[in-house]
Symmetry: C2
Subunit: 228 residues, 2 copies
Amino acid sequence: MRVIFNEEMKAVADDLDRMAQDVRKAINGAGDALLNADIDKAQAVIDGDIEIDALESSVIDQCVHLLAKQNPVATDLRVVVSTLRLAATFERMGDLARHIAETARREYPQHALPEETREIFAQMVAFLRVTADRLVEMLADRDTKIAETVIIDDDKLDQLHHKTFDIALGDTWTGTRQQLIDVVLIGRFLERLGDHAVSAARRVVYIVSGFDPSKDPGRDEDTPVADL
Amino acid sequence: MRVIFNEEMKAVADDLDRMAQDVRKAINGAGDALLNADIDKAQAVIDGDIEIDALESSVIDQCVHLLAKQNPVATDLRVVVSTLRLAATFERMGDLARHIAETARREYPQHALPEETREIFAQMVAFLRVTADRLVEMLADRDTKIAETVIIDDDKLDQLHHKTFDIALGDTWTGTRQQLIDVVLIGRFLERLGDHAVSAARRVVYIVSGFDPSKDPGRDEDTPVADL
């Protein structure tokens, strides 16, 4: 039983690794699409989301099969239940990257973002590129140090996100109402990508340490709108 | 074993029912807070979110315990795995209602929404009040007919959501940039509440029928930004 469990769990872990890699690709592609008004990159992200969705289905099926046939307990059970949650998180990250790519595609050949906001969005994207690399590495190595960095660093993304509102409300704003709508939504999507990365990092901490991050009072809190 | 499983599963189902009832209360309270600039209702929603979070933790713990001790298979396993997912969905709906309440609290004693958008937001809130009633009933009775109504009807909420953008971009708009930001974010939160209701409804269909709604191509799609 043990050997079968380990073999089957390895296959699920491989799929989850692939999901993380696909999410990284989607984040990088959406960032390029957004910052460079690159329609090909946008289309690739939109098309690629189907693979992420398919991987989630595959991971769920394998986990349900494992639960039924192997009756994992203790750490093994923790891994399986957390894997279900991680797959849902990555699936949602794929959707968010797709939404950003769709906005870039809709505005092409124009930029979706007005000029005065591009620098701050470039910083948000750069932050998430680093986060995406960390997610892949964290997952492959079950590295809680990297996971903790992802959790702690998310504040920086929130601060950048707040700055987008400062610009949108400031005297130098020249954008149209449509651009303001896009700035708000794209900012929200990027911020949520960061929140989901934190959620994934907490799951990895839980798998490795057994400490349930869902009991951390700071869990999955996205930036309150009250703090705009 | 069977008797114990049924007894324990009944306790989880009761917690899940309470979550749905709490989410309904949160949606109704957030709607009142938003439409009537009611600070007491806003505060109640914000404070009440803690109970929803605690219920999710309790549901997860009970499901993990059940998986470890009872090794459910077939329909029982489907119920436990879907319960984990439903709890996560309701927890998120509580967050979204809280965000709306926080926006209302921040703007109090002003209305968060400019006058010309209030009618359309009142329609979105009215839609979600009906949806929240349906969620509670659907869950208590495992009623797939109600679940299907929730799934089909979500288009209406998306149409209302699109209208908020029409107003924000139209000639009659008189709001400030801050109000435009709030209109975009609150609209997004309300639309996501509808998406999560659809996701919960699909889980109930899955529990009852065994048809996996995650393989439906239309799954968990929130409105593409491209369709604004």
